[in-house]
Amino acid sequence: MSRGKEWVQPTERAGMTSITAPDSAGPLTRLLRRKLALFGLILIALVVAGAVLAPWIAPFAPEEQHFDGLTLQGAPLPPGGAYLLGTDLLGRDLFSRLLYGARTSLLIGVVANGLALLIGTLVGITAGYLRGWIGGALMRFTDLMMAFPALLLAICLAAILSPSLWIVAMVIALVNWVQVARVIYTETISLSERDFIAAERTLGAGTGRILFRHILPHLMPTIIVWGTLGISTSVLLEATLSFLGVGVQPPTPSWGNIVFENQTYFQSAPWLVFLPGAAILALALAFNLVGDALRDELDPTQRGRD
């Protein structure tokens, strides 16, 4: 969608002179040629590295309260000094908490979105291939879910079910699968009307074989694109729930609940709110950038559009 001249030129030029020189680069290479996508991938790599290596990089334990971590008046310390990014209202090292928080945010983002993708694909593919009353019922249910105020539903569920990491992930999946189901449904319908599927059916292939050997592979680009864009949505939703105090519960650090714990100090200690905030933004942005570039590269319906 957002194609600037500079990084799209190679493909465009290749497209125009395709008779003589087709673009031989694979999707990954073409992805790396896009500056924004590359930027996104680097951001993701940084966060993943921080999350995986947290026990080795983090200067302190994330839940350790330091005696010298607060001023004599009991206020948190600003960035710089012994604590790289300062301390929070309990005298804990913010940098260490952010590193461990990356684990929570990534884990929930990926797990929640994986679940949403699974539910959405199953519902979409079943409804799209079987049609009939089962398909009709499934899609009416999807319409129903579309009419739900998603954030309100998620907050309500999370608040009532005293949340663990997994419950937060499930709540997010529960409100996020709907979009996937609709997209997969539409594509499955158009795929199952194509000749090669009809030919396969004539040859006597069973429903399972057609779905998994023939339709699912064609849906992969869409699944990959939504799998990437959806992580961004999930990360944001987790942060929002945790910010409201109904997501991941302290003392387990998550970027959202670090803001939640410290928001009363945001006038005197703004770094406690804006550093985790910047981390959330960076991660969500990264998955959006990569997902958007993937859509341009993989999704045939988007190719050539602006």
Partner: protein, 306 residues
């Protein structure tokens, strides 16, 4: 047209019925006991049982739901458990604030979104275009609560231009409306950009240019109406999204709308209010989508209602 409208309205009513059933069911099965909240901690088991019977919460699910639905059909949304007031009058009292915020937010959103989109299309491929598209990515990836706190920090705490939250004057409206408008503008900017690029390629624009019309006139009088109108039809969808997602901004800015009402009710498990706000939001979503579908063919006669 009349048949289409009738069918859509009946379908909308069914969807709302489904939303009410599912929400009621979720609140019934989830381990949330409103009676404990009402009775308080020191209540004797006898008092707890009395309140339960009094509110009819000891009845089976279907009895409770049909009673609620019966009331709803007569315009009665029940009474708040804790405030002892009619839910409909609580919502009615909060509605003007939410509608005001929504109007302000949509105004900002359209000004920013259309401005950014048109500018990006005119600078297509150049640095300005890339910067604007990057901005639009940032706005769709930014968590609402972080941007809200950032706006408060910069414009209320540091610069002291606006009050730090609350409701009443125009100055109170500015920050929450701009926050919501800014976050929603990226979405519009990208749609406006791509439809503007399509329009600028059209033959009639080339004709206008060949006639020697001034560039500004071509952009404002010839291109923009065709590029921007289809996007404006999307406002309907936006209204629905606002109603479901306004909780965070209203609670950060202390804006006394239905989002704040819902958030307070969720914390106290005040089921009638949660039900009421969910239904009102679902109504807004359903009607917003209907509105978008009805406006689309007016703007673009090629679209036919089916």
């Amino acid at each position: 047209m009349a048949a289409y409208l009738a069918r859509r309205l009946i379908l909308s009513a069914l969807i709302l019925l489904g939303v009410s059933l599912i929400t009621f069911f979720l609140l019934f099965v989830l381990p949330a006991d409103p009676v404990r909240q009402i009775a308080g901690r020191s209540a004797t088991p006898q008092t707890v049982e009395n309140i339960r019977t009094q509110l009819g919460l000891d009845q089976p699910f279907l009895v409770q739901y049909t009673r609620y639905l019966g009331g709803l059909l007569q315009g009665d949304m029940g009474r708040s458990y804790l405030q002892k007031t009619e839910v409909s009058s609580l919502i009615a009292a909060r509605m003007p604030a939410t509608l005001l915020l929504m109007a302000g937010a949509i105004t900002c959103e359209l000004i920013l979104g259309i401005g950014m989109g048109v500018a990006a299309a005119l600078m297509r491929g150049r640095l300005g275009d890339q910067a604007l598209m990057m901005t639009s990515f940032v706005t769709v990836s930014a968590p609402q609560f972080v941007v809200s706190l950032l706006m408060l920090y910069v414009f209320a705490v540091q610069l002291n231009w606006f009050p730090i939250g609350g409701y009443g004057t125009f100055a109170h409206l500015v920050l929450p409306a701009v926050t919501l408008g800014l976050l929603g503008s990226g979405w519009y900017a990208r749609m406006v950009r791509s439809s503007m690029i399509d329009v600028l390629r059209a033959d009639y624009i080339r004709t206008a240019r060949a006639k020697g019309l001034p560039r500004l006139r071509i952009v404002l009088r010839h291109a923009m109406p065709n590029a921007v109108l289809p996007v404006i039809a999307m406002i309907g969808i936006d209204i629905g999204m606002f109603m479901g997602g306004i909780v965070v901004v209203e609670s950060v800015f202390g804006w006394p709308g239905i989002g704040q009402l819902a958030w307070q009710a969720i914390q106290r498990i005040d089921i009638p209010i949660i039900m009421g706000v969910t239904l009102v939001s679902a109504c807004a979503i359903v009607l917003g989508n209907l509105l978008a579908d009805l406006i689309a063919p007016l703007v673009d006669p090629r679209i036919k209602l089916r």
